[in-house]
Symmetry: C2
């Protein structure tokens, strides 16, 4: 049989390798090849997730661009179904647009972008997402990613079709032309891909709804595949969140190897000047203190520092008291907005929210916020609903591997009056909203679905959850008290008339007198009952 013969040729015994034969096979691997083989790392491991991930990456970019340019975002998100498993998605924004020369690299090269080297809160950070979505589309349908962009009314709109060359991680331009476009400024991205559209958990619908909750300043027109008319998710607020400001790295977070490189590369000519220039929160006084503690001259040339001097400098930095990092690089949602978002979307009795003060892990400022909705029409017999967000982006997958889930599991919810099985989320009519804002969110994979459990992050999550838990416990206790009072009251109402009848018989009261006695008794008991409650 032919296939048997092929088999023998392919699988014939191999001569054992030597160092030389191994060397001949060693070569560089392009980052695109790496991720196209490992596409589950980028969130493209199955068709349902792939559809969501592609949309998410495009929406992240659109929101970041609008906010950075100070524009209130209006987004169109469209999913068109072309075949059972084939979709064409489009995400369009009213952002500042993209300069023509940058379009190919932004959409056709992995690890290219503006946010990786800056320390401030943004949705995108890696320069991978949107090119990866385009790469997945190309891989599964052979079709290019299509981009239309315009940077101003007086400028032409450019239309590009781009394919990533995975062997080299470079963009191949398939089409490049000027087109008519009614949009004065903005960007539209279209990708054709193999996907699955579903409702419910992990759905694009859910993602869009949660995006609106965490971004009340954003307006979205969303057209799912089963609809012709877009759903209009209106803006809840007409003001942009305060723009995060880029900061320099904080000295406490820097690692020895990075410190050595920074000193080698600094344009400053003196050590103390280098420290002041390249770090945040280092004043002249702090720089002098560091140099003294390191036993190094403040006017030493930073470029000639050797490893053991750098080690002293590193230790000195960590021994000197330095102000916490500036937190203007963060833009939390804020308690008020969280409450508004929850109240708009969830029918519950009790709402609370808390925004913790910013703090730092490995030199990166971050901030935790928790919102909680309880009671009302929420289902009481199911595990609570946990909504996770990082830099205002809803996280849909990998719940069990996420620091947020681990923190929620680690809380003793029973002490707040909620039932909970060992090792499980609590059960009850509750929705938890947890947001981590950071200049650099440590995701557990490039697909940005879960946050890594750094100890500092776990601690802040725990404290925020506990604070909300205590507020909830007060509400639950107060609610129980109200129920108890209601019960007492009904007892009074039930027994007093009988006492009236008894008294009438014993004392021979008139019907009139009986009525007076009963109403007096009610007032007296009512009064003593409320007094009891106050004294409780």
């Amino acid at each position: 049989m032919g296939s048997e013969q092929i088999q023998t040729n392919t699988d014939r015994a191999k001569i054992r390798a030597t160092a030389e034969s191994m060397a001949s096979r060693q070569r560089e691997i392009s980052i695109s090849e790496f991720f196209s083989k490992n596409r589950h790392l980028l969130g493209f491991d199955n068709p349902q997730k792939a559809l969501l991930t592609a949309i998410k990456e495009a929406v992240d970019n659109s929101l970041d661009a609008c906010e950075e340019a100070g524009i209130l975002p209006t987004l169109k998100v469209e999913i068109r179904q072309l075949a059972e498993d084939r979709f064409r998605i489009a995400v369009e924004d009213n952002g500042p647009g993209i300069v023509k020369a940058q379009i190919p690299k932004i959409f056709g090269k992995l690890l290219y972008g503006s946010k990786f080297h800056t320390l401030k809160q943004a949705r995108g950070q890696q320069g991978i997402g949107i090119s990866a979505a385009g790469m997945y589309g190309l891989l599964t349908t052979g079709k290019s990613i299509a981009i239309t962009s315009r940077i101003g009314r007086e400028k032409p709109a450019h239309y590009y079709e781009i394919q990533i060359d995975t062997r080299k991680n470079t963009p191949q331009i398939i089409t490049d032309k000027v087109v008519e476009w009614e949009v004065p400024h903005g960007t539209r991205v279209e990708i054709e891909l193999i996907g699955t559209y579903k409702k419910g958990r992990h759905s694009v619908d859910d993602y869009i709804r949660q995006t609106a909750i965490a971004n009340p300043h954003c307006e979205i027109f969303y057209t799912p595949p089963d609809s012709n008319e877009p759903q209009h998710l209106q803006r809840g607020s007409d003001s942009l969140p305060p723009e995060p400001v880029e900061i320099k790295p904080h000295p406490y977070g820097v690692e020895l190897g990075v410190l050595i490189r920074m000193m080698k590369e600094t344009p400053a000519r003196q050590l103390s000047a280098a420290l002041k220039r390249d770090f945040s929160r280092v004043s002249g006084r702090v720089a002098a203190e560091i140099c003294k503690a390191a036993d190094l001259k403040p006017n030493a040339n930073p470029h000639t520092i050797v490893v053991h001097e750098a080690e002293r400098l590193y230790k000195a930095i960590n021994s000197v008291k330095i102000m916490s990092p500036a937190t203007s690089c963060l833009s939390p949602i804020r308690e008020e907005q969280i409450l508004l978002g929850l109240q708009k979307e969830i029918q519950a009795d009790f709402f609370t929210a808390i925004t913790r003060s910013p703090t730092v892990y490995r030199g990166n400022p971050f901030q935790v916020e928790v919102g909680l909705a309880y009671g009302g029409k929420l289902p009481g017999e199911e595990l609570i609903d946990l909504l996770r967000f990082a830099n205002r982006v809803p996280l849909q997958y990998q719940q069990s591997g996420c620091a947020i889930t681990k923190a929620a599991l680690g809380i003793d919810w029973r002490s707040y009056g909620i039932s909970q099985s060992k090792g499980a989320l609590p059960t009850g009519p509750m929705v938890l909203f947890v947001h981590i804002a950071s200049a650099w969110v440590p995701f557990t994979s490039e697909s940005k679905e879960a946050v890594a459990p750094y100890p500092e992050i776990m601690r802040e999550l725990r404290l925020a959850l506990q604070e909300c838990g205590r507020k909830l416990a007060m509400h639950i206790r107060a609610h129980r008290r109200a129920v108890d009072e209601e019960k007492k009251k009904s007892y009074i109402e039930k027994y007093i008339p009988h006492i009236g009848i008894a008294l009438r018989e014993i004392l021979g009261l008139s019907a009139r007198a009986e009525k007076d006695v009963v109403s007096t008794l009610k007032v007296v008991l009512e009064r003593s009952r409320s007094k009891d409650t106050i004294d409780d």
Copy 2:
């Protein structure tokens, strides 16, 4: 205050960005910069894990090199403690050594190696691990990774000190010299790093022990930091596992985009020849069938195929019956070796193991093996111990995110006679050993700690676990029966003498006659009891 002033300068209000100002900040991110900022993705998120990961990466490389060269591996693994949190690790092998010119790139460049582009089972696959370990050492201690290597007795030994230039992802050679070395051929890697050494769960000791279980052909001399004498883990077997053979991709696993690229790049001049040449299991007959189903001429030029033709070809491939992929690219541990490994390390009553037949996910052949030890001295009141392996490498972290754990959780262990709480691993005196061998293991992150739950992999895991579960259930039932018999027997022994006494009184038997009756009764009852058991 000085620091206040710095603050104001750094955080001053920024002019809102435009498309032009954004473009000026967009640039390429080197893969080393990316991973040095995201080092938790590589397994370097905390000092304890970092120590383990660095050793693991070096051991993986050593074992792969020895096996590929047909050498029975002898490894030295040394951990020296230099300060409270500072260690110098060394891993030395008797492998084929590394050609001088390749050393800098292998140890000072991420995404460089020989295994990424080949389809066969190996421990390393990404070309990231060992350079990442060196990068972590450099980052935390400023010290170079040191390599000594020799490719034969007649050749000199080369010593290198290398630092990765993270901005460019290229090696910087710090030292390059010829040294005296008593080893005839092999490689020694040394890394200085910030770490934590602990015993117990997730420990290096545990990892070394598990490596020995899954690699009985390997001999290890292990010197932990608290010891001067190496521990000698002896070889359990003197034969190398069968060497996996490189195969070509199977047509069923190829994606449309990859197919298009393959046809563009093939040296074959005719479509049918290209299919035969570039895929495994495609004979002339199968190639002809595919061309016919795709309505394409077998002698068409593959380089000029357009997208819609490629789509037809893709559909045709998946409609034609093609032999399963060759599985010579896999090298499972095998049932016998798993049993040997478990029996050597674990004191239990019952052992079983199963090696499933190979199958395929996304075109990648893989194979699942499960071993199980039960009873004996294993603790009965705790969650079972789950040992996870991928391509013979023990997996120590991210248990909850791993396909192996998810599969074990999904089994109804109570039906096999083991107690289990909802959503938890079973409780009982049991150790589960699970191995996935694959030409390409889909890890959930670059740190290779957990396997992604592809449906085909989950299915094989489930079937293998169920098969072992059924064998265990038989053992447990048999064991219960033995206990029951023991009970019956003790009843007999307890009551028969009383019957004897009664009979003696009723029938006026002599002591001698009573004794005879009792012993006859015992024999008869014993016989009927065993008959009962057989008839059960």
